[in-house]
Symmetry: C2
Subunit: 359 residues, 2 copies
């Protein structure tokens, strides 16, 4: 069985990789554990949870609307009824929303209790489960509440991906590509990466690919867990990607928005003469465009909403826009703060052309 040790300033932790779901039986046997699960996962995998007392299971409706302190308070109340108090282990099972709610709850009750997380979506398995971040919405503000608290143990089982929708499965691939491109090594082997992504599309070699992705991410976390420097390169594809999520009213899922955001960032980079035409074509045409697994509508790209979202990016520092772009053919990402509205618009035109959405 593969595993990965991750260093954190809060507490070190470990990721275990499993080919099947038999490990759940062992977790059920632990003492002082309670479960918080995405209701859908509970229904889909009920047979694995038969031996758990229903009083020890809290079911979450894991929607964006419920990603609030109110859900966290319901978990506090559930925990407060248990005898074990600070000796409690909370086992949470679900995707990113379940992770955000239970991560915030476990980090803030009894000054931090033991937390085991079992991510069930591709995005949460390959990306969000490590890195310590928790996020909650507050009133109309998305993700403004949250802190840093990693699980103590993470169990990754691609078996869960079998019940994921096509759209959600493909959404995970965007972040896998991003981390592969951010990997720091003398030369990137793009043809190997294209083959790896092809395998993922055919649902092959998922476990190993997730393991590799985490290794790349954990190297960055090790030096900048609290996101004060180098970790902001994780936002490659995200500056435009978040704007597109807004502009499409979340019709374009996160991972696919990130893929399109990387295409956009590469267009900016090509325009500035940083990346060569050869590598640009390889990345955008051979790797990224084939990974946009959905039919896009031109209406998803509203100039005003896109521009306004870019302006509201919390990484923005000056009068112009901020974006992470490749600085060379080796995709050494850099943050630039001088994207003018004019350049933004010209690159958007080129993007729509690339996506075949030019009217």
């Amino acid at each position: 069985m593969k595993s990965l040790d991750i260093h954190s300033n809060i507490h070190d932790y470990k990721v275990f990789f499993h080919e099947n779901l038999d490990f759940i039986g062992k977790l059920v046997e632990q003492s002082n554990r309670i479960f918080v699960m995405d209701r859908n996962i509970y229904n889909l995998y009920a047979r694995y949870f038969e031996r758990i007392d229903l009083n020890d299971i809290f079911l979450l409706d894991a929607t964006e609307e419920n990603k609030t302190l109110k859900s966290v308070e319901q978990i506090y109340a559930f925990l407060a009824t248990k005898d074990s108090k600070r000796n409690t282990t909370l086992v949470s099972i679900g995707g990113g929303i379940t992770q955000d709610i239970t991560g915030f709850a476990t980090s803030t009750v009894y000054r931090g209790i033991r937390w085991i997380f079992i991510p069930t979506t591709f995005l949460s398995q390959a990306d969000s489960c490590i890195g310590s971040k928790t996020s909650l919405n507050f009133e109309n503000y998305k993700n403004i509440i949250g802190g840093f608290y990693p699980p103590h143990e993470i169990y990754v089982a691609p078996e869960f991906l079998n019940t994921l929708s096509e759209k959600d499965y493909y959404s995970g691939i965007g972040e896998v590509i991003k981390f592969a491109l951010l990997k720091e090594e003398p030369r990137k082997n793009y043809s190997e990466l294209i083959e790896k992504i092809d395998n993922l599309k055919q649902r092959k070699n998922i476990l190993n690919t997730i393991h590799e992705t985490m290794e790349i991410k954990s190297a960055y976390i090790k030096i900048d867990e609290f996101d004060t420097g180098k970790r902001n390169l994780f936002n490659y594809g995200h500056c435009f990607g978040h704007a597109l999520e807004n502009s499409s009213h979340y019709e374009v899922p996160h991972g696919i928005a990130v893929t399109i955001g990387m295409i956009y960032a590469n267009i900016v980079s090509l325009g500035r003469g940083l990346v060569s035409r050869h590598i640009f074509d390889l990345l955008n045409n051979d790797l990224l465009l084939p990974s946009v697994f959905m039919k896009l509508e031109a209406t998803c790209f509203d100039f005003d909403i896109l521009l306004n979202s870019m302006k509201n990016d919390k990484k923005r520092v000056g009068a112009n826009l901020t974006i992470i772009i490749p600085s060379s053919d080796n995709i050494e990402a850099i943050k630039v703060d001088d994207l003018s509205e004019g350049e933004f618009g010209r690159c958007l035109d080129l993007l729509l052309d690339t996506l075949g959405l030019k009217s």
Copy 2:
């Protein structure tokens, strides 16, 4: 000007010591700062805050009832109206309750914003302002919510203690004695300590004494910030002290309850033959008893409530009670988990006798 550097796993920070309140002027001039203040402090020291736009001040009614997520959410809402977002510096001014509410808020908004804390009570200046802990009440559960997040800068000015009630001033002395006794050195100089406490009673040498107290505390925090080992010795005087706070319905303030808790712990230690009669008399009769600055009623010591509170101590692990006691004449504190109900009752009798409350 004295200062003290403190290492934390979250972020290193610095304590500045000031003889007067002129430093407030400099804080007011900083950009992107907002203030959260105990309403009483604002009223008492209004002249120092005249130059602050009222829209940049949030006034707290710093009561135990308000030490909840609701107050924290009011601060989130206040912060969300500001342009500066994650560049905001929150300056909070008040005692332990103000610290708890603003520490939780700053640690959980935008994944942690810059926080400057100005403690205004003796307890918060000498003890709680360092050490990173935040605590909130939830429903009927006291202090079950909270985490670890230190301020980025702390400004300690004993000038604020001039407007503190006698009872609250003396309450701070208990924790000063505790840390002096926990100081790790070959031999403790008890007569020097007794003199130091005498000076404090006469409001002399406060700033230096707070500085020394923090140096002792910070040495422990350095090795056990997250309270998984040695830091639990800070609970010397607290196991019985918390029980007494409950039993007296908070008539006995925290620091005085801790002083009485240390007297109680020493009685247990003497009974077990760990501390000698000579040192016991020196500690209990010459140092601690004269530091119980209030008239006590026998009704504050309800056997059932005291026992029940000791049973609910979150440090308790087995069937018996847990207490921190001196293991030798050098007051090397140790945690013992084998205090039976019988021994608890016998020592309580001896305590009441010591306090002159034996009926």
